[in-house]
Symmetry: D2
Subunit: 385 residues, 4 copies
């Protein structure tokens, strides 16, 4: 009964208290205070691995109740939104259960380990009277949304080429022990699943859908030492992936990712080549956008570093002065606000499960192309942010 859901204060049920769990908790706390147009929310229930941990974190995060049973959280009548921040392998069951219970679902990326699972989740959501949101948080950066507006306004002409990279170094150290994250069964894809899908979310937002691609992947550290110190085990999923893509628009481009790129802490960089200009962005300087326009005298042309500010909504809802900088967590707050508005009947929010399925079809296509050595056509699914 969506009407009753909309009429009352929304209750948040959060599963997970780690990296992303905390980000969600902070964002749901902050969003209604940051944005004057949002109704307050209730932090209804928090689920962690044990009751003790759940209790402790519920106190810290300010949730009313705690549980170690995620199914109890999903079933709880005072929970209207289920936020899923658990390891990726668990997303599928949790999301399906939440949808079945008529709850709105805010799921971290990627949707699932396999494209089949993701399709099942998307199908379930589409068939239900619930709203969904997937944690492609970088799409909410005011700098990114400004880039999209600039492109739409023709600031660089027609976008004709794209390059993107998403790199970190969390698997760069050869001496790190083997974990389940190295298995395709438990972790699914490697760098593509952790990082690559973020890049696709940005590429879609800037360039539209990808039609087909060729690709290669690489395992840099083929084995890792077992934690018990006796022997090594194989790494099954990719450390790097590189794809040359064709967009539906006719543009081409490259998508590259590595989880073994020393010194890269949050590289998620891109460049859009247009017929009259160029836009570039570096995530490690997330409050800057770089614009080249081929107008005016040659002697005065150059890449312009635009510092985000109140002219780039919703930056001004956080700080009324440009150049003071939003942080990583602020993007999650914007994401939460968009979701809450969508649930309240506001403008269509994104990315939903349908959008996310489109993004994730690409990373699986990259994996597939690398395995087959052949050009792979990307299954289209829905639209994009």
């Amino acid at each position: 009964m969506p009407d009753s859901k909309a009429a009352r204060t929304l209750g948040i049920g959060l599963i997970g208290t780690g990296y992303m769990g905390k980000a969600h908790a902070l964002a749901y706390r902050a969003a209604p205070a940051v944005f004057g147009d949002l109704a307050p929310v209730r932090l209804a229930m928090l689920c962690d691995a044990t009751d003790a941990a759940a209790d402790r974190m519920a106190t810290q995060f300010g949730f009313a109740r705690a549980t170690s049973d995620w199914r109890a959280l999903v079933a709880s009548p005072d929970v209207d939104i289920v936020a899923i921040t658990t390891p990726n392998a668990l997303h599928h069951d949790m999301a399906l259960a939440a949808i079945a219970a008529g709850k709105h679902v805010h799921c971290e990326k990627p949707l699932a380990l396999t494209l089949d699972q993701a399709r099942a989740m998307e199908g379930a959501a589409r068939g239900a009277d619930v709203q969904t949101m997937v944690g492609y948080n970088y799409t909410h950066n005011p700098a990114f949304q400004h880039a999209r507006r600039l492109i739409a306004d023709g600031a660089i002409g027609t976008p004709v080429h794209f390059r993107g990279w998403v790199d970190e170094d969390y698997q760069a150290d050869a001496t790190l022990p083997w974990t389940w994250r190295a298995t395709r069964a438990q972790a699914g894809l490697g760098a593509l699943g952790d990082l690559g899908c973020h890049l696709v979310s940005l590429a879609y937002g800037l360039m539209g859908p990808i039609d087909s691609l060729i690709a290669d992947t690489q395992v840099i550290h083929a084995t890792r030492p077992l934690p018990d110190g006796i022997g090594h085990a194989a790494v099954e999923n990719e450390d790097t992936a590189s794809a040359v893509v064709r967009f539906a628009s006719g543009a081409q481009g490259t998508l590259c990712t590595s989880r073994a790129a020393w010194g890269r802490k949050s590289r998620l960089d891109w460049e859009v080549h247009g017929t009259t200009g160029m836009l570039t962005y570096q995530q490690e300087r997330m409050n800057e956008l770089h614009l080249f326009q081929s107008t005016g005298p040659a002697a005065m042309q150059g890449f312009r570093t635009i510092l985000t500010g109140p002219a780039h909504p919703p930056y001004g809802d956080f700080v009324p002065a440009a150049g003071h900088q939003l942080g990583f967590l602020d993007l999650k707050t914007i994401e939460v606000a968009a979701f809450l508005r969508g649930i309240a009947g506001g403008p269509r929010h994104a990315p939903t499960f349908t959008d996310a399925l489109a993004f994730e079809a690409v990373i699986h296509a990259i994996d597939s192309a690398a395995r087959s050595g052949q050009r792979v056509t990307v299954t289209q699914a829905g639209d994009h942010p």
Copy 2:
């Protein structure tokens, strides 16, 4: 009765809902959820200029009650901490009243329009059984605290020279109308009061106290159009200030500020020259610190860009991954946490009214040196962060 204050949940009374008011509100909401060691706080009462505004913002920010009477807020028994974010001219009376009421005071910078007022506030605080904190938020940046640790650890040898700049462009436009901010009576100092004191807070943290200085100031836009369109009025306070300082340590340096520096949105940059290395920082890239060390082969030396991360506490309490970036508002959350710990009997927090008085003695000394054309000795007041 501090014991009773410490025993119960602290109630926050916030005066002001503007730029800094919102920053305080968000920070008091966030701090206990970010930091596991903090007790929860109550958002007890919010004061704004009118009852209607106060009501509306109390709802948005999540405060229990609202008022347009700041004296009522100060007097309210459920308020333990009074946070003052009003125009600077009001700080003095509000802080004195709060101290008189036995409340802890969290005051935005600068303490006051004049050094006399600041001294009165510091004296009152020192004589009372209350804790104080002043909003020199940039001192709480993990990058800044890391710089302090690096210096303490000898990473650049002995600091022997300092340069700092704090620039914005909010008064750069010659066509902006005249406001009370241009008067010394109502606004006090110009760029020095708005911006310069921030720079001093960093210089003190990095180099220790300043002994004496020479300086010059400049009014770039001597008059501004009156809002009613008939005529112009004089700008009484400085657009720029430049000082050459001598630190107590024997080091020298320069402090520069401008509120009319086009393109500078939040420049608060500094460099510390050491006997074996150099540290530099740019506030518009607030998650980076630059370190040069004169060790190793010359062919491999260079400035190193350190991206802040969990290795730079308390960054990791926000995000467990380096390079993902804190934002401006996160610094206020760290400031609030430090204050709450200090009130709870934790480690000495800073900057207190005593620290702030020391910082602000410098900006008044710069003004004085510029007016007299003579070297001015800075009145020492307390220690520093």
Copy 3:
């Protein structure tokens, strides 16, 4: 009779006075004065399109004689080195003639329009008693050679991944008229021939030879207006190319090029991912090298910007102070010096025709892979710088 050639002052015969012609002229003038170990050279003869132009430029550049007949220059007994800087389509005939005349050949890149022509040139050179050098000038940058030494010394462990980009914007403007440069018959490859081969020369120097690749190419401006204003003609060669490569070492990587990348004036950037660190470089800041090493405390790690200086030979032969910067033309001077030393029996210089053939096999393989849609194995040819 090489002995006699070595015994006397070498006479330079330069064909072409344009962009590269001038660079060669200046470099042959400068090299013996810059480097104390070189014998003087004679600027013997200059060839330009007309006698008048040749005369005028010979005076300006300081050549003893002038001609509009390149065959006369090649045949001239006082010419020992023939430097070829004409349009690419002419390289083949000129080089073969010079080799046949027993002259050393300094040829601009690429060797030729087709791989068959390049093979013929390389074969002729290998079978003759002459030295060759090809103008892959960026390989002579002290920053690049330092990167090679750092890799050899293990500064980043084993190189396991490579990414490179070479972009300019000289064909970005859609309104530029059609020229012969758009034809495969007269110009050969597009961006790959102009720019891409430079990137390959650096990739080989850093990573060793490429075994195979997949690729795609794109024509952004499919037609261009004819100069006479009536109609358009087709652009036959690529504006962009993107390849995913496998090196013989097992490393993977991407090579990307565009001649239609607005704002890029001399982008020739690369990054080498190693097992313990990372090296990156940007050609538009050609005196800087960026090094990340995963050693020392995490809190102090970061990319280091190394400014080239006397510690990076032969920088110090130009300027004895670091950070003062070499320019584009200085690289050509280093190239000339290496060639002169090679001719004088010094250390093996590079890149020769054999090296260049290896580089250029890659750009033709990229073209071939893009056309066929299949993985292409690169024909190996000789070694590399």
Copy 4:
């Protein structure tokens, strides 16, 4: 008899073969080949400390004759231009002798150790029928000249504030032995003489003359070990200097220099604050200029990085493609060309002895202000570039 001098090929007599001597030699070799409008020059005579050294370097640099007697060089009838690149203490006598001999003089900066000597040199030159040029090479950077044109064209409105820094680290190491460079008698000023005067040359070019200033200086390493290992000797001249200046235009600004700034290899950075924009420059990236203009929508404003190219004369005389970069030595070639044109009756060149005297009056005023603790009025002397 200037007519006869102009009518024949100018003969260059170069005194000194070190850092700057080589730069002059290479520049006089290159200039006529780079610039089509220049007549050829003769490299007539080279003077070095010993006959053997002079012979060797004359061969390397291509000078016709060599000597160890600078007076012989000055007196030689085939020498028309005397280029002085010896230690600063020798400039005065050599320049006066050359002027007395009716030779044009190209002198490295600073003119002399003391202002009195500089005045004598300027007076002698002004009273003679010779042309002079002083080696303020950074003023010839196309980026700098473009900045001057932008300011003249109103690109940033009226310049109202200036900041400049010139830093190196050649005296940063505390363990470097004491040399005569530490004495005022033999070396004159410290960082001000080596570096500070360069900054003044740029400040004058951008902002016009300085009227008065206040200043402080600092000796960081008060003593240095004597080379023989027994004891230390005092350092008499400044390691750093910092001045707050008032320009004749009414603008204010700061000038800072250090020769003990670790990591700075060629910092010579400045920023010009205008009433509608800002220009900034960093010498270690000498082919870039940064421009902020307060025009257009706020959302699109930002600092623009202009890469120098053919649109910034005379860059295009070196390389016809933007972004390919000039180097340090190319600036000296432009300086030589300007001097040769001035001698040939072309446009007034700069900086002459008169210009240099104006620059150097400022560094002596800074020294004087630091010693007296008082505001010092700068003696005006001639005009500026």
